[in-house]
């Protein structure tokens, strides 16, 4: 079901714009050549409404190329994609259905936030009054209503990022592309923005493509993930699937204790049954890497074994600063899958 840009924003519970469960962004074998160099090697994925997809990859992996192709700024060498049922051979129609926050986004500094949003609302075909009302609504949604009449030049970095997302939503897009939206924000600003991104997907039944280097952002807000390395898709699926599918070091845990207790902690952990080896992580003070025995059939270790590790340290009154399973985080998966592709 194709929508014109002037339809109202669907409220929560409204009928979704595409068929129930049907993807609103479908990329099929997208390739891009820069001369002899292949920057994108067959990108294929789908995104459904209300879903947030993390688009990951090291520098030079082809993320920016992919985003520029999907946002019609650049043409693919081959392959195609659809947004809300509209094919990539209709770039103007695609542009009506997408909203984009580019990474290197500049703003005119001599106009106010509301003037900026009104202008872009008008470019999408709204009348001045409609565009202004829409702009005020978005500024309110992103907590900028009190700065609506301030020059953008006086906005902080976080405010500009929020204004950029508001700008990406002036046409009620089916798919929103956000390239590094949390870049340069303080931790609180990052958390607030991620929460807003989640709301954008849920309240508007939109699909969100979140392109970021902050893997914790992806874990916190994304439903799905695509990992690119050297132009190739090396992992795709839900966050849990990607982590589970590549977890090969489930029998290794990492423990962080105060530096002065590290020798004592190492001795205690080596005495726990099922522990094969305990080594101090080189270069990072206070971290211990604990390798544990696998069962005969190679299945992951028994959680009770981990509890015994903690029990030993607690009994010795050693403060435990951190404790996690190696390979159990997206960062581990990312590093493992993109090794060699990092530039």
């Amino acid at each position: 079901m194709n929508r014109t840009p002037l339809e109202l924003v669907p409220k929560k519970g409204d009928a979704p714009r595409a068929e129930e469960g049907a993807p609103i962004l479908v990329a099929e074998d997208l390739r891009k050549l820069y001369g002899p160099r292949e920057a994108l090697k067959g990108l294929t994925f789908t995104l459904g409404p209300t879903r947030v997809l993390g688009f990951l990859g090291p520098n030079g992996a082809g993320k920016t190329t992919a985003i520029r192709i999907l946002t019609t700024i650049m043409e693919p060498t081959s392959g195609r994609f659809t947004v809300d049922g509209v094919g990539s051979d209709q770039p103007d129609e695609i542009r009506r259905r997408i909203g984009v926050l580019p990474e290197s986004l500049g703003f005119p500094k001599q106009i106010t936030g509301i003037e900026f949003l009104t202008y872009f609302g008008q470019l999408y075909g709204r009348t001045a009054a409609e565009a202004r009302a829409k702009g005020m609504g978005l500024l309110e949604e992103f907590g900028l209503q009190n700065r609506a009449r301030s020059l953008i030049g006086s906005y902080s970095r976080g405010m500009r990022q929020r204004l950029g997302i508001a700008r990406a939503l002036v046409n009620d897009p089916a798919v929103v592309f956000l390239d590094e939206p949390t870049l340069g924000l303080d931790p609180r600003g990052q958390q607030e923005l991620l929460a807003q991104i989640r709301q954008v997907a849920e309240r508007r039944s939109a699909g969100v493509v979140l392109c970021t280097h902050h893997l914790s952002d992806v874990e916190g807000v994304c439903d799905d993930v695509v990992i690119l390395s050297s132009g190739e898709v090396v992992a795709t699926g839900t966050v849990a699937e990607v982590i589970g599918g590549t977890q090969r070091n489930g029998n290794v845990v990492r423990v962080h204790v105060p530096s002065e207790s590290i020798a004592q902690a190492q001795r205690i952990l080596e005495e726990v049954s099922g522990v094969l080896r305990v080594t101090a992580t080189s270069g990072i003070s206070g971290w211990l890497r604990v390798e544990m025995a696998r069962s005969a059939d190679g299945a992951p270790d028994d959680p009770a074994d981990r509890n015994r590790l903690l029990d030993g340290l607690i009994r010795a009154n050693i403060p435990i600063l951190s404790f996690d399973s190696e390979g159990g985080r997206l960062q581990d998966v990312f590093l493992q899958l993109t090794a060699g592709g990092i530039k």
């Binding site: 002037l6 650049m74 005119p108 106009i111 872009f120 075909g125 609506a148 009449r149």
Partner: protein
């Protein structure tokens, strides 16, 4: 242009034009450039007016010189603003906003072109009072405004468009400004060629196909020489062709291929999709042919030798039989004063003289007696006398304009025209006029000073007004950027 309206709102080009207009004028860039224009024009006007009082440049020449300068500076402003229009947006990372909207690229570029063109009408409006006061009651300022509007508007479209084209294919302002400046200087080069190079066939042709030189030539003929439009209309072809060509290339060829990054994709795509080799060749041939075609009539006109004048056949007289007298001997004057005097040439021979040439000579007595170029000092350097009958006299009015202080002598010579290429003749000199010229400075030549001062002041007041009005529109409180 398709897709004129996007939905129910205003046309895209109008939205872009208004946005760009606000950024240019309220943002201050155009106002600052126009302010600089008013300063430059003021200085030029003052200098021209001061020179006029010293050397009596006719009013129409002053108007022409000032109009020419006004157009040249305004074109530079248009070129600079055009050069920033797209590469500047690339540099500031704001172009992507526009490219991500479903808007017609042609309308976007057209809206930007219109906005970048707006400094020209402002410059023209500022020039009008200057032209009016410099004309000193001569109605030449009216045709100056008419012809200035026509040629200036054509050239402003062309130069602003050229700036935008350069900007279209540049990723940074540094590149686009540099290239645009080069183009501007190239346009000025033919006017700097030596006089002979400008006068020859190639020189004339070069001037005619150079829109800047052609515009100057056309204005000169219309305003200074009072020639008719029908004689020199072909000098307007180069500016008009350039304007049309630039509009065509910018809006039709280039605009649809507007990209986030210039260069690789930009030029290649435009050429690949819209400018096939055959078309390129045909266009180049057509342009060359057109320039030759419209140059031809002018060349014929330029090469046509003047009709030979009928001179009375007369026998030669000896120099001793000629006499030239001056009615002034000593004068004490100040710079800018005019010294009128009369010469009387008498043929004391018993037969008719040859045709006679009277020439003025002025010598600076300071130092070793340097000669002075009488062209700067007098509207008449030589006068011609038809053959004088026996015992006849001829009187002539002369005027010297004292343009420098010091001690000078001026004297006249009368020279019988030689009878043929293998003969010569003996000039006869008059007594000299001894001039003592005292320095003199006038602060308000031709009454231009109030305009020179008031125009920038009015512009500053306008800037302050716009700034204050803008301050009232926006909320200036709250946090600052971090």
């Amino acid at each position: 242009m398709s897709d004129r309206r996007n939905g129910r709102g205003a046309p895209i080009w109008w939205l872009v034009f208004r946005r760009e207009l606000a950024e240019l004028w309220i943002g201050g860039k155009a106002l600052v450039l126009v302010f600089i224009f008013s300063l430059v024009l003021g200085v030029i006007t003052y200098v021209v007016a001061a020179n006029s009082e010293l050397s009596l440049i006719p009013a129409n020449e002053m108007v022409y010189e000032t109009l020419k300068t006004a157009i040249a500076v305004a074109l530079f402003i248009g070129l600079i603003i055009g050069s920033d229009s797209l590469s500047g947006e690339r540099e500031r990372s704001t172009l992507e906003h526009i490219l991500l909207t479903p808007t017609s690229r042609r309308q976007v570029v057209f809206g930007k072109l219109l906005a970048a063109f707006t400094p020209w009408p402002a410059c023209l409006a500022i020039s009008i009072p200057f032209l009016r006061v410099l004309s000193q009651g001569d109605p030449v300022w009216i045709p100056a405004i008419l012809w200035g509007s026509l040629t200036g508007t054509t050239m402003a479209i062309a130069y602003t468009g050229v700036g935008m084209l350069v900007s279209f294919w540049s990723n940074t302002n540094k590149t686009s400004y540099f290239v645009s400046l080069g183009i501007y200087v190239l346009g000025l080069v033919p006017a700097q060629l030596p006089g002979k190079a400008q006068a020859g066939f190639f020189g004339q042709w070069l001037q005619m196909i150079n829109p800047m030189a052609a515009t100057s030539h056309f204005l000169s003929k219309m305003l200074v020489n009072n020639r008719h439009f029908s004689e020199f209309w072909n000098w307007l072809l180069a500016p008009m062709l350039l304007a049309l060509a630039v509009l065509f290339v910018l809006i039709w060829f280039a605009a649809p291929a507007l990209k986030l990054e210039a260069g690789r994709d930009g030029i290649k795509e435009v050429l690949r999709t819209r400018f096939a080799k055959r078309g390129r060749l045909a266009t180049a041939t057509a342009l060359t042919a057109a320039s030759l075609l419209f140059a031809a009539p002018s060349m014929v006109q330029a090469q046509t030798p003047p009709a030979p004048s009928a001179k009375a056949a007369a026998s030669q007289v000896t120099p001793a039989s000629l006499d030239i007298a001056i009615d002034v001997d000593v004068r004490h004057v100040k710079v800018s004063d005019k010294i009128p005097f009369t010469t009387t040439v008498t043929n004391r021979a018993s037969e008719t003289s040859r045709p006679l040439i009277l020439a003025m000579n002025i010598i600076n007595l300071k130092g070793t007696g340097d000669p002075v170029d009488p062209e700067d000092w007098s509207p008449q350097r030589t006068q011609y006398v038809e053959a004088l009958g026996a015992g006849q006299s001829a009187t002539h009015e002369w005027q010297i304009n004292a343009i420098l202080d010091g001690e000078f002598v001026a004297y006249m010579v009368v020279l019988p025209e030689p009878t043929g290429p293998n003969t010569t003749s003996q000039p006869v000199a008059s007594s000299a006029i001894h001039l003592t010229v005292a320095p003199y400075t006038k602060l308000n030549p031709s009454g231009v000073l109030p305009y020179v001062i008031a125009t920038p002041v009015v512009l500053i007041l306008l800037m302050v007004y716009l700034f204050r009005r803008r301050r009232r529109e926006i909320d200036t409180g709250g946090a600052t950027a971090s």
